[in-house]
Symmetry: C2
């Protein structure tokens, strides 16, 4: 099952939500200086396009300066507000794109302590601090690979002096290199590996992926087999509830 994470960014103002199509419209208007030219360039009808601009303006404010008559017949120019709206959207899109592309490591566990939206989740690699939805007991914790920090175990920062709440030892398992970005897969050390108490075979890979720069890979001299400390913030780890776990305790 080859699943691809997708999304469609939107900005919601007052009642209207502007989507990518609207932003492309603004871009075309900005580029061509008139709504007719923009409509032609986009292969859209002028009427709809004009209506949409008015709709957005009713919620957002003046995003265009539209003139009819005059030299050249008039024209339409984006205002600063309009440009700001574009930039807002681009930033939002970039953020979401980051999430959709960064792989995610998943660990399952059960919620122990909880304070508000934050909780400690017991997993096979030890306790994990994460954001947990209300009332969840059995959860999957997702850790975004662009939020994982790798450090040299010899000079690991004092955990009391940073806001990095989650720290795990592990060994580098795999390194996949891109242009400037490298994806490092770390096999986490299981907690109490010799404990016969907990009969949880947990077939979880217990792998943690980290997206770091190639330069960092070199500085840390990372290579398969090397020991590292992987840390991430509690606010970058998000849990989702699992209803029935692996059990089919329904419809007996």
């Amino acid at each position: 099952m080859r699943v691809e994470k997708t999304y469609s960014p939107k900005l919601s103002v007052d009642g209207v939500t502007v989507d990518r199509r609207d932003i492309e419209m603004l871009e075309a208007i900005d580029e061509h200086g008139s709504m007719h030219a923009a409509a032609d360039a986009l292969g859209r009808s002028y009427a709809r396009l004009q209506n949409r601009v008015v709709e957005i303006e009713e919620a957002v404010g003046t995003i265009t300066e539209r003139k009819r008559g005059g030299s050249g017949g008039g024209g339409t120019v984006l205002t600063d507000t309009g440009r700001e709206l574009r930039r807002r959207f681009e930033r939002h899109d970039a953020e979401l794109d980051g999430v959709a592309r960064a792989t995610e490591s998943v660990v399952t566990g059960t919620v122990r302590d909880r304070t508000g939206e934050l909780a400690t989740v017991d997993t096979s690699v030890g306790p994990v601090m994460a954001l947990v939805p209300e009332g969840a007991e059995r959860v999957q914790v997702g850790i975004r690979s662009d939020a994982v920090v790798l450090t040299d175990p010899s000079e690991a920062p004092d955990p009391d002096r940073t806001s990095l709440r989650n720290r795990f030892r592990g060994t580098v398992e795999r390194i996949e290199s891109g242009d400037a970005i490298v994806r490092v897969t770390v096999a986490l050390a299981l907690e109490g590996a010799d404990a016969g108490d907990d009969p949880d075979p947990d077939p979880d890979p217990v792998e943690l992926q980290a997206l770091i720069t190639r330069a960092s890979t070199d500085r840390l001299a990372l290579e398969p087999g090397r020991e590292v400390v992987a840390s991430f913030k509690a606010t970058a780890a998000r849990a989702t509830r699992i209803d029935a776990g692996g059990d089919e305790s329904e419809r007996a």
Copy 2:
């Protein structure tokens, strides 16, 4: 202009993209044990619902076990694949939700060095390593607040031993407390504040927001005025291009 960041999560498999509505459908089926009951509960028509299930199954595989006839007339049950699809979606949604809710700090600057998708951006607070789209020169760098790590300046980790590429000194400006999560706003120190060379007044707030746990706030003894080091990974900083900057160099 009160803008709210929104999004709609989607999972794309083969040709079809399943959205939140599909997932809600699966949930209802799982809960009620039959597609008719699910359709009623959702206020949707059975026909469309049934068609949709088949469509998704053609791409994803068997997500339901549908039986007709038999005791009770039959029924529909989610398969493990179906449940897995649900969980995948929930995780994806949780990630995107994190992005939409975490505030973002924005710094503008110009691209200097670049290696692949990674580049150094010169800003008023110094160089920032970030992911930069191709061909961009003048950019806005967005830094997600849940990716910013705060550390005590006295015991700041050796930058050569971690994969945290961006480090900035600053002073705590504001602390907004939630239940368990605290938002800390850090005023970054400007680079070369006495330099008369660079006539860039840059009205940027040059503020960096960090989302950290309340416990971390206590351990670091954070309070307004206190000096801290704020760090974040290059892979967590994303730049978007600015076309004309503040200048209106078009349509003379």
